[in-house]
Symmetry: D2
Subunit: 353 residues, 4 copies
């Protein structure tokens, strides 16, 4: 249950509400996203009615469907996530995020980053800590990978988006001033990670888990927002495909208009993981932009056959260039590049629970 | 197994091959699509080797993967299906096929057809014989529906595509000179229907069954082509979605580039059935065109809330108009309309099996 | 919409109702399953209210969910399909139906049939007309296959269940006195076939399509029952599996208790197609019986590696014997065999539509 | 890549191998499950050949498919996980684990635990830290829940299995001497959690993620085993169901024989989450045992309609009793109860990476 507080409500009013709930054997937790809310559990309906009348309370929601902060109902206008001058969402043109699956070496990441920049990317993607299904596969360069990404940012001006695999490494991401933390599909419902990233205040890219519906995905975003972080970008990357499917996952492009209807958060599309084969990536990328995606997350590699991870689904720099040119010809991607990233500072916000 | 015959091979050579197979206890069937082929079963590998050496034989294929006539390997250039001056496939711009789910009355079908024509449709879609999951739902007007469609064609010049539900009604489709026979998703593997439609020579739109992979779909097309009919247009309309999905099916747009790679047949996309809700149809339609679809099949209704069938997924004429305008602005749909259909004649080809 | 007629209602009353509907521009169709019903379309709610008051009408159902004749609501007690002394459903012990995927030769079918009989099968399964995804695969022996099955029945006393692929061959099934006509998964929504088989009066085994939910499956049964045939046995054989699945389909054993709740019709389980690999068939067969299935449909072959169809999923006669012995030891299968089939006569019932 | 070391290999030999790899620019990590292995990345094939000849090396595996420690190939005999006198796996009869979804109060957990014990359960299940899709739902009593479970263990002698939601709370699980840590479906690929639980040495129940195949699931188990913990019990609880499914997930009982073939680890089945509705739980539970499951994990509640979590899928104590009686009558569950749990001690093993 959710108690929505008036914007002018005071600390004392909040405390009075929470005391009342706990007195009655319930549990109350104050969250301070943009405006304050109190999450309540274990209350009788009559107590909730009583709470609705307390000073400082704007409204009490019995049934939120798990979605309030991220809902269009609460915020009709689009959220625009701005990262060092680059806007994602709203009326901003689609943003290009490109790069290798994994950071493999200085040479590899710089080569690819230069190609990506030239093709018009605003962000470099690349994994330093790789979650791998197979424990005997390459798990990423670790902190060394973050250092290389940081160097790319400083030298080429690209923003960096990279995946957080373990909550224990979150401070490294903050230390290296990663611009956007990716929460991978496997961790979409790792609530501890969602809460911690929410407290970090760093912009988040939240990938959809292939077994999850849109409602569950938006509820995962809600966990992040409840901790005060509203810089959330959603990323559609395909859902479970049927046996016999030639693609690795099934890209769900209906998610683009559906999320737009249900939420104010921006949504980008990753055609690479969905396809699983570079041959089909450009068609899916064009389709995603046409459907209204706020950006593309694409795997690129200059020597894909030797890539340590996801080589088959990485397109070449030439294909990336051709894809972007096509989108520009349609007026669906701007020629101006958003490459002016300077450093920003984040620190872990103290937990309030 | 498949024996591919030389183009200059003679009737006598064909017969000699078939006799040899039957002598050895096998079964052989001559098919005459563009070029002749003989389908063989129950032969030993050594007999096949022997047959490979007989006069008239170009090659013997032990393993076709069920796909030869429809494969890019056999025909590298795109098939263009031309129906009364309107081309589907190849370099032709995307074709618009629009109309109601079901023909309900003269007034309804003419109103919608006029809207569709004005919006730029070359084809009117609309069901006369409706396959319905629920036996107590409206099953279509039957032959009266075909008559109304025929009248629309004659008066408005639109081509007609409508679904064949029962093989027993195929002659009615021929009698009323239906331009393109739709095989619905439920009948994609109704082999008797595929064979009969193949013999009819009438252009076919073959919808994908939501439980079937692309390979199975192309093998269904092969059944039609084996009977001598190469006028086959594929139609993607969504595969089985996961529990909790808000869309009725999951539109598989990767099918567009994959089919292009595997086959020379044109592919159109039906976003209406995939979405199941009109709100998401335009975004999916734009995505389909961007992915490279040869056409769109869209349900439209001027009074969707009163439609006898699939109302919730039918867009309004105004939305159709807006969708087409947007595609035209991108240069993805031509302003010239292909509305000049005259009558054509088909008759059932005699079975050769 | 459905008008349920009183059991004592007269022909004249029926006609009066139908005239009233047609007068008002609607369509009415009389069906005579056990009791008479009239299916109505195109009526206003007020007309339906009026019809509810006409003589002969028991009740009018606006919303049947597509299921009335097959529902528990209409018939609380289990349907028991009795075929020449062998009962399927109700309190009868699970029935064993075993045999090859396809009839290949007299020697093959007799060898397997004898093994099946010895293991306790009441039915021989085996296809004469095989629907094959791949047009270049073995399509069955055709009528010769039906003749061989007929011979097995006469000499070994086993009942015969075999698939109807094409509606045009239904009279051959009747001529050869097939005991139970199988409607395969691909034809579950071939409504023409459902109606014709419904009129034949021959007991039907209706397989579930892998893309269809339980409600759609029961609605397919409703089509058969509406034509007057209530001898319907449902067969669960697996639904679409996810990419990466090692089994061919995903066996949905929850269908057993769910169908029992929704319908009075018996349900048997085919573990062979679901598994796609003989190694996992016995475990799934035991699970199906434990879940409450009314029977098992199992593919057996004495030389599975040479089978022309579905060899990998066919178990050996020895494995079948061991499986049945295990079920008998648990008291889940009787030692008495139901092998006393005599011939029965069916003929096509005249269409009443 | 995986280097398998001889059982008599020495610390010095291990170090020599690791030095050689790092010298050549690769990465090496020593793991000491039962026998020692070294996981290698970034090596050339020729270096691997060289390593294969070093002293102490038993074999080098280029391609493990991600599965070595958990594979039948490495260990042909079944793993039996013994927890305070209760055996799971091998020839042991199926173990019953029953209890509420969440611990709600002392009264609730003791009432249900007594019912479970009387019905023959060896384990009480119940969540203290609940991962909830909806952030506004009850998230569990936290440490207080673990205390109540601990009290149940001490007073009733039941073993305790409960879910670890956040890695940060692992020491609480150890402090309260939880018998078996459940890794829920959402965390199946939370590799940080898998590694930490692997180091804890506490027996683990690893639930399958609904989007994951059996291979991915076994690879998750491999992560745990690589840290030296071979006390892993797998739990099948259903995979993604299709739209329109009445069950919450689709129980994949073929997983029982398939896991038995691929791995030596025991597998239990949770019919409650798969069904999502208590009406269908008993049939699925019986099917699971018949398929060969090593145990059942079942949600029970004495007042399910008031449960704070998963009420609809919780069966009543009477239904549990009836289910167990039926399994006993078939000889599929023993009448002797394994309720003699004493306390055991675990502590976090130091990380070796």
């Amino acid at each position: 249950m959710l108690v929505i507080l008036k914007s002018e409500s005071t600390r004392e009013e909040h405390e009075r509400i929470m005391e009342r709930v706990e007195q009655a054997g319930g549990r109350a937790e104050l969250h301070v996203p943009k405006e304050s809310v109190i999450v309540i559990n274990g209350c009788t309906p009559s107590l909730l009615d009583e709470i609705g009348l307390l000073p400082g309370v704007a409204s009490v929601r019995h049934n939120t469907g798990g979605q309030w902060l991220s809902s269009r109902e609460r915020q009709p206008e689009d959220t625009v996530v701005e990262i060092r001058g680059c806007c994602i969402g709203g009326d901003a043109p689609p943003v290009l995020m490109a790069g290798p699956c994994a950071v493999e070496s200085r040479d590899q990441v710089f080569q690819i980053a230069e190609h990506a920049k030239r093709a018009g990317a605003s962000f470099l993607r690349g994994g330093a800590f790789k979650p791998r299904t197979n424990p005997y596969s390459f798990q990423g360069l670790g902190e060394q990978g973050l250092e290389l990404l940081s160097e790319v940012r400083d030298r080429l001006g690209l923003r960096i988006v990279t995946e957080l695999r373990d909550v224990s490494t979150l401070d490294l991401f903050i230390k290296h001033e990663i611009d956007m933390i990716q929460i991978g599909a496997r961790n979409m419902q790792n609530y501890e990670m969602l809460r911690l990233v929410g407290r970090s205040g760093v912009p988040v890219m939240l990938k959809r888990n292939p077994a999850c519906g849109i409602a569950e995905w938006l509820q995962a975003a809600e966990y992040i927002m409840l901790e005060g972080n509203s810089q959330v970008v959603l990323c559609e990357r395909g859902v479970t495909a049927a046996r016999g499917s030639r693609t690795r996952y099934m890209l769900d492009l209906a998610a683009v208009p559906i999320v737009k209807e249900m939420s104010h958060l921006p949504l980008v599309v990753d055609p690479s993981h969905a396809a699983g084969d570079r041959k089909w990536v450009p068609a899916l990328a064009r389709a995603a932009v046409a459907a209204g995606a706020a950006g593309l997350l694409i795997e690129v590699h200059h020597a894909a056959d030797e890539a340590l991870c996801d080589g088959p689904q990485s397109i070449s720099p030439a294909t990336l260039h051709e894809l972007v040119s096509g989108l520009r010809a349609l007026g669906q991607m701007p020629s101006r590049q958003y490459v002016q990233a300077r450093r920003a500072k984040f620190k872990l916000i103290e937990s309030r629970s």
